[in-house]
C-alpha cells in the first residue's frame, strides 16, 4: 500500500507535467505593430484546402500580421468555438472558411457586436449579408462555362460528352453543371449523352466511368469532370478499356491541382480550369481595407484561369499545390 501511494504521488506530477509540456510551445509570437487576425479554417481534407491555408499563413507572415489559426477538422462546432475564442481574445478581424452554409447567424452577430469584421472565403453562408464584410470566392458557374468554351473551340462545336458530377447538392457541383450546360445547350453539335455523380473523388470517378463506358463507349468523344480527382479516375477507366484519353477522348476538368498538371504533361488530360485556392493576398487586402474603414463589395470574385496541354509543361514548376 505504501508503494502504490508513492506511485500515486508520482502520477500527480506526471500528469501535471504532461499538461504543462503541451503549453510550452506557446512562445509569444507577437509581431511588432502588426494586426492580430483570426483564421477559422474548415479542415485539411484536400490538397486544395491545404494550399488555401498555406497561402493565408504565408501572406500573414509577409505582412507582419499575427495570425491566430484554428483548424476545425471538418466540424462546425469547432469552428463556432474558434470564432468565439477569437472574439474573446480581441482579434481585430476574422477570416472564416465556413464548412457548411447554415448556423452562422449567432456567432456572426457576436462578432459584429464586438466590432470585428468577418471576411468569408471560398464559400458563402445562409445569413443576413449585413453580418459579414465580404465573401471572397470563385464563380463556379463561370468555371463550368470556361470548361465548355474550351471544349467548343477545341472540337469545332461537335462533341458527345459524358459529365462526371460532384457530390449531389454541393454548390460547386450544381454551379459547374449549370455553367457548362449554358454553353453546350446553345451549341447544336454538342451533346451531353450521360451525366452521373462521382462524388468528387478518384475511386468513384473511375467506377462511374467504367459503368458508363459499357453503355456509351461507342459514341463518346469527350469527358467533362467537375473536379480533377474524378477526371484522373476516369482517365484510368478509359485506359483500362483500351481508349486513348487526351487523344480520341478529350478530358476537361476543374480545380487545377498539381496531379492534373502532371496528367496534362503526360498527355492524358487536355484541360483544367483553375479554381484558385491562393486567397491569402485578396483576403488580407480585404482585412486591411475593412480595418481602414472602407466599404467593400459583398462579393469579391476570384479570377480563375484555363490551362491546357500547350502550357502545362512550363507552368507545372510554379504550381504551389
Amino acid at each position: 500500500m505504501r508503494i502504490s501511494s508513492r506511485t500515486a504521488l508520482l502520477a500527480l506530477p506526471l500528469a501535471s507535467l504532461a499538461s504543462a509540456a503541451l503549453l510550452l510551445p506557446a512562445c509569444d509570437r507577437h509581431a511588432a505593430g502588426g494586426h492580430v487576425v483570426g483564421f477559422a479554417q474548415a479542415g485539411a481534407e484536400s490538397s486544395w484546402r491545404v494550399a488555401e491555408t498555406q497561402s493565408i499563413r504565408n501572406e500573414a507572415a509577409a505582412r507582419g500580421i499575427d495570425l491566430k489559426f484554428s483548424d476545425a477538422q471538418g466540424k462546425q462546432e469547432n469552428q463556432l468555438a474558434a470564432i468565439r475564442n477569437f472574439i474573446s481574445q480581441g482579434v481585430e478581424a476574422i477570416i472564416l472558411a465556413p464548412i457548411v452554409e447554415t448556423g452562422w447567424e449567432d456567432v456572426l452577430r457576436e462578432a459584429k457586436d464586438a466590432g470585428i469584421p468577418v471576411i468569408l472565403v471560398d464559400r458563402g453562408v445562409a445569413a443576413d449579408p449585413s453580418l459579414y464584410t465580404t465573401l471572397i470566392a470563385s464563380d463556379f458557374v463561370a468555371e463550368g462555362r470556361m470548361a465548355a468554351e474550351w471544349l467548343r473551340e477545341k472540337t469545332g462545336g461537335r462533341a458527345k460528352i459524358i459529365e462526371l458530377q460532384g457530390t449531389p447538392g454541393a454548390a460547386p457541383a450544381i454551379d459547374r453543371k449549370k455553367g457548362f450546360e449554358e454553353v453546350i445547350n446553345a451549341e447544336p453539335g454538342m451533346e451531353i449523352i450521360a451525366s452521373q455523380s462521382g462524388d468528387f473523388n478518384i475511386e468513384r470517378g473511375k467506377e462511374v466511368m467504367e459503368a458508363l463506358l459499357t453503355q456509351y463507349g461507342g459514341q463518346l468523344t469527350a469527358v467533362y469532370s467537375h473536379n480533377d480527382d474524378m477526371a484522373l479516375g476516369a482517365i484510368q477507366a478509359l485506359q483500362a478499356a483500351g481508349r486513348k484519353p487526351g487523344e480520341e477522348v478529350l478530358v476537361v476538368s476543374i480545380d487545377g491541382v498539381r496531379a492534373a498538371f502532371e496528367a496534362m504533361v503526360a498527355g492524358t488530360l487536355n484541360c483544367t480550369v483553375e479554381c484558385n485556392p491562393l486567397l491569402g493576398p485578396m483576403a488580407f487586402d480585404a482585412v486591411e481595407k475593412a480595418l481602414a474603414g472602407e466599404t467593400l463589395p459583398k462579393k469579391i470574385v476570384v479570377e480563375d484561369k484555363v490551362f491546357d496541354q500547350s502550357v502545362a509543361a512550363e507552368v507545372i514548376g510554379s504550381r504551389k499545390y
Binding site: 508503494i3 501511494s5 506526471l14 503541451l22 509569444d28 477538422q73 469547432n78 463556432l80 457548411v100 447554415t102
Partner: protein, 324 residues
C-alpha cells in the same frame, strides 16, 4: 490513506489539480484567458460534449460502454430540424426527440442484457443504425427557423464580466447537478456503482440488475438526444454528418475525470472536470493560434495515459472490491 479515499477522491483531486495547472499556465501565457467570458465560452462550446459525457459516465460506471451516442446526437439534431420544418412546435418536437433517444438507448440496453451481448458490439451496431437513420431523415443540413426556437437559442443571462450563460449552458449545468444527485443520492445510483463493481455480488445482493442496466443505456440515449438539442441551439441547424468521434471524446472526458473503464469507480463531478480540461486545451490552442489542432489529440492522449497509469496505481493493492 484508505482504499476508498484513494479510489474515490484522489483521482478527482488529481484531475482538479491538472485543470488548475492548465488554467494557470494558459492565464500566464495568454493575457485575457482567465476571464469569466472565456470560461462561459468553454461551458457553452462544450455543453453538448458535457451532456454526452454525463450519460457516458453512468454507462461506464455500470461496467458498459456506449459507442452510439455521437451519431445518435446527429440523428437527434436532424430529426428536430425536420420536425420543426414539418410544422411541429419546437417544444413537443424536443420532447419527441428526447423520447426517441431514450427508446433507442433502452433498446440497446435490453439487447445487451437479454442476450448477454457485449455492449461494445451492440452500441457499435447502434452507431451505424443512428448514422443511417440520420441520413434517411435528410442528406443535408437543415436550418431551423421558428420564432420560439430562435428565442431559446438567443436567450442568455449575462453574469459579471459580460459572460453569457446560454440555454445550452443552463441545460448542461442543470443536468450536471441532476447527474451528481442521481449518482450519489439515489438507490439507482448505488445500484449502478454496485453493478459495475461486481455483477455477481450485485446479483447476490438481490439488486435489480436488468432494470438498472436498461435504465443506464436509456439514460445515455436521453443524454445523447439532449446533447443534440444543445447542439442545435448552438448551430440553429440539424446536420446528419456530425457526431462521429464524439463518443470517444466523451469517453476520454470520463476517464480523465477519474472514471474507471472497468466500472464501479468514478464520479459525475470528475467527468465535469474532464470536460473542462478538454475545453480549456481547445481554447488555449485557439488563443495560441499557431499550433495544429492535432495538439488537442496529443494532449488528450498523454493525459489519458497518465490517468490510466494513475488508476492502476491506485487500485493495485488492497481489496479488489471498490465499494469496501
Amino acid at each position: 490513506m484508505n482504499l476508498a479515499f484513494r479510489q474515490r477522491w484522489l483521482p478527482t483531486l488529481v484531475t482538479a489539480a491538472v485543470l488548475l495547472l492548465l488554467l494557470a499556465a494558459a492565464g500566464a501565457l495568454y493575457p485575457g484567458f482567465l476571464r469569466p467570458l472565456v470560461f462561459a465560452n468553454i461551458l457553452r462550446n462544450n455543453a453538448y460534449l458535457g451532456i454526452l459525457a454525463l450519460g457516458m459516465t453512468f454507462v461506464i460506471l455500470s461496467g458498459g460502454i456506449d459507442l452510439s451516442v455521437g451519431t445518435l446526437l446527429a440523428f437527434s439534431t436532424i430529426l428536430l430540424a425536420r420536425a420543426i420544418e414539418a410544422g411541429l412546435h419546437p417544444l413537443p418536437a424536443a420532447f419527441a426527440v428526447a423520447a426517441v433517444g431514450t427508446f433507442f438507448g433502452a433498446g440497446q440496453g435490453l439487447l445487451i442484457h437479454s442476450f448477454r451481448l457485449p455492449p461494445f458490439l451492440v452500441t457499435l451496431a447502434g452507431m451505424f443504425l443512428a448514422k443511417g437513420l440520420a441520413f434517411a431523415v435528410s442528406l443535408q443540413s437543415l436550418t431551423i427557423s421558428h420564432p420560439h426556437f430562435d428565442a431559446a437559442a438567443s436567450f442568455r443571462i449575462l453574469v459579471p464580466g459580460r459572460a453569457p450563460l446560454t440555454t445550452a449552458t443552463w441545460m448542461f449545468l442543470v443536468l450536471l447537478a441532476a447527474g451528481i444527485l442521481l449518482a450519489r443520492r439515489t438507490r439507482f445510483g448505488r445500484n449502478v456503482y454496485a453493478l459495475g463493481g461486481s455483477e455477481d455480488t450485485a446479483l447476490l445482493m438481490g439488486l435489480p440488475i436488468a432494470r438498472t442496466r436498461v435504465t443506464v443505456y436509456a439514460l445515455s440515449g436521453l443524454c445523447a438526444a439532449l446533447a443534440g438539442l444543445a447542439m442545435t441551439l448552438n448551430t440553429r441547424s440539424g446536420n446528419p454528418a456530425i457526431g462521429l468521434g464524439m463518443e470517444l471524446d466523451a469517453i476520454a472526458c470520463a476517464v480523465i475525470g477519474g472514471t474507471l473503464l472497468t466500472g464501479g469507480v468514478g464520479s459525475v463531478f470528475g467527468t465535469f472536470l474532464g470536460v473542462l480540461i478538454f475545453g480549456s486545451i481547445k481554447t488555449a490552442l485557439d488563443f495560441h493560434g499557431g499550433l495544429d489542432s492535432s495538439w488537442l489529440r496529443i494532449a488528450m492522449g498523454i493525459l489519458l495515459l497518465a490517468f490510466i497509469v494513475l488508476q492502476r496505481a491506485l487500485s493495485r493493492s488492497g481489496s479488489p472490491n471498490p465499494n469496501s
